[in-house]
């Protein structure tokens, strides 16, 4: 004879209803948080992948900020180079006038003052600083790039910045890369050229026309150097944009993957919750009916 123990009946019912309830609560928690995993052990592989994705996202945020910073520096460099071009063109005009042999003393003095002004402006631009107050053309060193005498005192190369995926960009140009060049095989730079010209104009005994003509040739080469530098900066900004676009695309992929792995789909979860609730209600109702079946009620 099978003995249907009352204790066993209640224990089994409690167990079943309890496990259904805990399932339903878990689904409810998933709906509330929008996350499928509440702790790693719910799905260890997915949790590990989610952590890796989170790391990539965090680091790519940093990369984004780094590349924005490098971009800002390059834009400032670009502006500075634009100003330099204007200054060199102005210097060319002035030198052209100086090359005209019919200048009187007074006119020469005016030209001299203006050429010195251009040289000072050029020095100032070469010493311009970025948003963090560091010399744009100083390479590694944060101190000023050129001393008032026009000698370069920065570092030999500009620093590179990592902008993610192992890609780097050189965030600036050193002074010599912009204003130093060779003319007829002789190394010189724009500050020296203008300084020499000014000195010649100051010297009444010098041949001003020859000096101005030499300077004119040198300025031509200098202008080419500055515009070349501007092209380089433009290319670097383009590179940063390419890497940025790539990062955005990867970021979208990561976000999508994270949603797929770790997100709880509301529709599916809702339907499963409804299913669970139906089963739970049915088993509660049947428990009430079964437990109400007592022979004692029938015996009078």
């Amino acid at each position: 004879m099978i003995n249907l123990s009352t204790g066993a009946f209640f224990e089994r019912a409690t167990r079943q209803i309890g496990s259904l309830r805990s399932e339903a609560e878990k689904l409810q928690e998933q709906l509330g948080s929008g996350k499928r995993l509440t702790r790693s052990s719910d799905d260890p592989v997915a949790a590990a992948r989610l952590r890796t994705l989170a790391r990539h996202e965090r680091l790519s945020e940093v990369d984004q900020r780094n590349s924005e910073r490098a971009m800002a520096d390059l834009k400032m460099t670009d502006k500075a180079l634009g100003t330099m071009t204007d200054l060199v063109i102005r210097a060319q005009e002035l030198t052209m006038q100086a090359a005209n042999g019919a200048n009187g003393l007074e006119q020469r003095q005016l030209l001299l003052a203006e050429i010195q002004g251009v040289r000072d402006s050029l020095l100032m631009v070469a010493n311009s600083r970025n948003a963090a107050g560091q010399a744009l053309f100083g390479g590694h060193l944060a101190t000023s790039a050129y001393n008032p005498a026009g000698a370069y005192e920065g570092a030999g190369e500009a620093e590179t910045v990592e902008i993610g995926d192992g890609q780097t960009v050189i965030r600036g140009l050193t002074g010599p890369e912009v204003i130093s060049f060779e003319h007829n095989g002789n190394p010189t730079d724009l500050l020296t050229v203008l300084g020499t010209l000014a000195a010649a104009l100051q010297d009444p005994a010098a041949n001003h026309t020859t000096a101005a003509q030499t300077a004119l040739g040198e300025l031509e080469a200098g202008l080419k150097q500055v515009t070349t530098a501007q092209t380089i900066v433009g290319a670097r900004m383009g590179w940063i944009e390419i890497v940025d676009e790539r990062r955005t695309a990867t970021g979208e992929l990561f976000a999508e993957e994270r949603g797929e792995i770790g997100g709880a789909d509301p529709a599916t979860t809702m339907v499963r919750l409804q299913e669970m609730m139906t089963v739970l209600e049915a088993s509660q109702a049947s428990f009430v009916r079964l437990s109400g079946l007592s022979l004692f009620d029938k015996l009078r």
Binding site: I2, L4, T6, R51, V62, A132
Partner: protein, 446 residues
């Protein structure tokens, strides 16, 4: 001797009363833990015909021959065995979940990533004091989280040790109780209700004991039990009236427990004690991994620091003190001491070559990846154990239910029994009435 209708009816009424008592007792104990359904067994009383009286009717009614306890020894042994397994698995799962929470909630992984990120960000402007300070803060957070994880692990270990200690105490109480029951069983009369309740107690104690350690039992004819730990050839826990003392010692260095029974080392393979011992070993393993990770990170960073120059151009100094997760500390608060530039650089250099090395060292040492692996390892063990525990739990509960079905009280059956014995009582009463009627009709003869 001839039959006596009145005394037969009286014995019937008495037996029915006793059976009703047993039924009422069953109903009253329907929800009692460890109560096994009783039934009164009845036996006919009659005398064999003697010499020269072969044709005699010699009936003397019925008597209660004993109170039966409807326990199935096999199912009880099954319950004990499966209960041991499930208790071990449950204790282990709970401990592993605690370890998982301890390591996961310390959020060490994101702290390592944050440190990595801060180093990378410092690369955008190595001389920015704000970025340097942020890097030192990130390093401090990481070190703190290592400390927190180590502390939480210690708390998990202490909890498991405490619970194991409590279980050992309880096991000692249970074994001495079983020994006392053994003594009393030897004195209780067979078939008595006293004996039945002693057996109930014995089985309840054995089941509780099996939740603490895996045991094997052998029963003597008087119901007393000999308990051994492990298999049937294991060390004796209870023998007759003697209980052996179980004790536990915690290893000072790695925190794992060892057990002795009357001074002889034993290793429980089941029950919560075995589960807790496994948990404590796991805590030790995880702690070892965290320590190794902390030491790797500290060494890698410190080595590269040593090959670089700080902001003021001086040689880099170690960034971390301590080589274990619990003792890891940041050695300096001043962000200027981070050696971003290569050795020999002038003060204020923006050269980030050494910083790049620092980052590479951290990455190739596998900081975040290794932490991820540690977390994955623990969480996949928890997930695996969850499945095992659920299976063992289902087996244990089905064994339990099958025992309950066989030995538990079914109120419907008892209701039917009430009716049955009530009717038997009434019938015996009617038999007495008949005896009296017969007597009356004899007296009425004139």
């Amino acid at each position: 001797m001839a039959s006596d209708l009145l005394s037969i009816a009286q014995s019937g009424a008495r037996a029915a009363r006793a059976a009703l008592d047993v039924t009422a007792q069953n109903i009253a104990n329907a929800a009692s833990d460890g109560y096994v359904r009783r039934s009164a067994s009845m036996q006919e009383v009659s005398a064999a015909g003697g010499q020269m009286r072969t044709g005699d009717i010699s009936l003397s009614g019925v008597r209660i021959s004993g109170i039966d306890r409807n326990a199935d020894m096999f199912r009880q042994a099954e319950v004990r065995r499966t209960h041991s397994d499930s208790a071990r698995a449950t204790a282990e799962l709970r401990g592993l979940e605690n370890i998982e929470s301890a390591v996961e909630q310390a959020d060490l992984f994101s702290a390592i990533v944050e440190f990595e990120g801060s180093l990378r960000q410092l690369g955008s402007d190595p001389i920015d004091p704000a970025l340097r300070a942020a890097t030192v803060a990130a390093a401090e957070t990481m070190a703190n989280k290592f400390n927190i994880a180590a502390d939480s692990l210690t708390a998990v270990a202490e909890g498991a040790q405490f619970e194991a200690g409590a279980a050992v105490d309880q096991a000692n109480v249970l074994t001495s109780e079983i020994a006392r029951i053994n003594v009393r069983l030897a004195r209780a009369g067979p078939g008595s209700s006293d004996r039945a309740s002693l057996l109930d107690q014995r089985d309840l104690m054995l089941e509780r004991l099996s939740g603490i350690a895996n045991i094997s039992t052998s029963f003597a004819s008087d119901g007393s039990v000999a308990v051994r730990m492990g298999g049937s050839s294991g060390p004796s826990l209870v023998n007759g009236g003697n209980a052996s003392a179980l004790s536990m010692a915690i290893d000072g260095t790695n925190g794992t427990p060892s057990f002795t029974l009357d001074g002889n080392p034993v290793a429980p393979a089941g029950g919560s004690l075995a589960g807790r011992a496994l948990v404590l070993q796991e805590v030790d393993t995880v702690r070892g991994k965290l320590d190794a990770l902390a030491s790797t990170i500290a060494t890698a960073v410190n080595n590269v620091q040593g090959t670089g120059a700080a902001l003021d151009g001086s040689n880099g100094v170690a960034m971390f003190n301590g080589t274990t997760a619990a003792t890891l500390q940041v050695a300096f608060r001043d962000g200027a001491l981070i050696a971003t530039a290569p050795a020999g650089s002038p003060a204020g250099s923006r050269n980030a070559a050494n910083l790049a090395d620092l980052r590479t060292a951290l990455e190739s040492g596998g900081g975040a990846e290794r932490m991820n692996a540690v977390l994955f390892d623990i969480s996949s063990r928890v997930a695996g154990h969850k499945v095992t525990t659920e299976a063992l739990d289902a087996i244990a509960s089905s064994a339990r239910i099958s025992l309950e079905q066989q030995s538990g009280v079914d109120l419907d059956t008892e209701a039917a029994n009430l009716l049955r014995f009530q009717q038997a009582f009434q019938a015996s009463g009617r038999a007495m009435q008949v005896a009296s009627d017969i007597f009356q009709s004899l007296l009425a003869i004139r």
